[in-house]
Amino acid sequence: MELTNAIILLLNYTILPALTYGSQLALGAIFVTLIYGILRFANFATGDMMSFGTMFAVLLTYYFQSIGISFGVLPTALLTIPFAIFMMIFYMLTIDKFVFSYYRVKKSPPVQLAMVSVGVMFVTQAIIRIIIGPFDRRFLDGEKFILKATEFKEMTGLSEGLTIKSTQVLTIFITIVVVSIMFWFLNKTKTGTSMRAYSDNEDLALLSGIDPKRVVLITWVIAGILATIGGILYGLDKSYRPFVYFNNMLPIFAAAIVGGIGNPFGAFLGGYVIAFAEIFLTYAYKKFFAYLLPEALEPNSMVQLLSTDYKFAISFSILVLVLLFRPSGIFEGKKI
């Protein structure tokens, strides 16, 4: 009994939140890694691009709510995803046409493209703040919980409750669907194969008749889908605030590099590595040990390895360690 309680406690406070947060990071990390692998630059506008897509979802959700459209028990924001993705892809392609393509054709060094993406970051941030402002916004509606702690306690008779938020299940479910479709696309279809070929060896791919413009276009389309869905899921789970999205760029980069940049499958796993590390290292295990150990041995302190203030610092430290010892990432598995 005590053991079940301890497991439920961990599940409730660490594993479920980590899986959710990890999924959100994973989507962003695949976005970073695709851009890096195919367009060959570190995109510093990542967080703001995710924020841009989410902004449309927020605005459309408010609009739908005002005209009385809802999605029943599910959040209305899910209905807005196609529109938000459309706007996002349109914005990305515009930016690509007017900004990035010039440097790509000129074959500028990646550093220059990264600096250009800093410029794009400024502009995107300005547009977002001018349109929606810098404030915190919540746009979650519908049913908030699938399972409440009290219900769980009644059901099982345990003293520890388990809360399952609908956003947690939605995030994990949607991530799995989106990511599996994407991997199927990259590995099984002809376009996906041509993208992988372009990423591995540009010259050879061009020689074998792959149209670079098409590859770039498809890359931005996939990136737009990932960025928007990742951003919306994060916003539903926590809240939408432009500054937080900009900051999320950092753990997303960490996830992409931990997984081996340019490798989408690694990035996917990297997201979870970062999320689990952040949450497991900052969780206070006092109650957990109180369940497991006999009373005499119960700890007095919080049994917290690091204070939650250092959440971000943990993912960055992991990144620094990975860069030092395995610069090509910890998952040297399939490349795209």
Binding site: V118, V120, M121, G133, L250, D309, F316, L323
Partner: protein, 456 residues
Amino acid sequence: MKQYSNVIAAYSIMIILIILVGVFQSWSIALTILNYCLISAVMTMGANIQWGYAGLINFGIMGYTALGGLAVVLVSVAPVEEAWRLGGFNMMICIGIIVAMIYSIRYVLKKIDKSKKRNYLIASIIIIGLLLLRIISTPAIESIESVEPAKTGYLGGLGMPVLFSWIVGAFFAGGLAYVIGKIALGLRADYLAIATLLIAEIIVSIIKHEEWLARGVKNVIGLKRPAPYEIDLQTTPWFINLVEKFHSAKLELINSVTERQDALNQLVIDASSVYVKLCFAGMFLIVVIILLIITQKALYSPWGRKMRAIRDNEEAASAMGKNVVKEHLLIFVLGSAIVGIAGAMMVTNDGLFTPGSYRPMRYTFVIWVMVIVGGTGNNFGAILGGFVVWFLWVEAAPIALFFINLFTSHLPETNEVKIHLINSASYFRFLMVGIGLLIIMRYRPKGILPEKIIKQ
């Protein structure tokens, strides 16, 4: 002289712009902008040394700036004796443990061959060290933070003159850069950018959350100043006389004695704030000029030529027997030290240390825009970049407001779009800086004042 003509032209335009602000807004604002321009110029020079001379991309500027600011607190604030008595000894032991850890790891690395045994040994040293640190520091930190938490709650500093902290700031930042450089300089350019950005975040989060060190997010206010205080100036006779002489023509027009006295008081208050800012501007200008002379000399010395050779072709330079790794590390440390000075200058100017305000947007990306816009590899360009971009950053809101009013003048005052735009005028600074960067990168990739190679 002729080769400097565009430098002179660009600088005169900048000075005229600042004077225009003085005339149309107020001299106090103009001097505030000038001071920040000078601080930005120092930061930009530091980043420019790394990027322009050696091609190293360092996105960790925020971290060095914060360390420079920390130096001001640790050097100039008077020590909190109560806190030292309660927890100082334990904290000293902690520092000793950290040093011992580093040395024992280095010893293990040197003496034992690469093997599993060595890895386990290092891991156990780290774990034992962290446990010891935890046990010793926790009670000490608690007791330090409980000493008058509203006012102090930290160890305080050394109580030395504040100007000394600028040098200490340079050493702090340089020391951190040495460690980061040892770790990360072998990375590819974009990896280095990301790694330095994240390491800077770690540094700032440590400064933010270790309250025993510098009060963290509770901020340290009322730092010492190398310039006189406004309140003291307003009661100093020579200063009042000076203001009276300066404005004598204006004052004589007022007949009533009490009215004249009131007018004089107001003028003295205004003048005191201008005087203090002028003092700061003078000090910052001295720093900028010294740094400019040194960097200029360095750029055209054999060492500068070597750096450019390494930047342009690493393999060739190392084939010629130049130690690329060593030179990269050296320039990384030097550039970061300059940024550290700027961080200390900024905190001195503000008189307060607010770790919560160190954000990558303001302290890394804007500085990089300055470097790119001004001209990479050109010290005059770096200073100009600091001036231009900071000026835009500050004056963007008034400029945007002017254009919004111009374009929406046909709309009624109650129009929602107009109200929304006017309320978000301050965000146009991101737009202006971003578009400025994109335009410069596209049409003048070497910056306003491009690098000049003088053939000896």
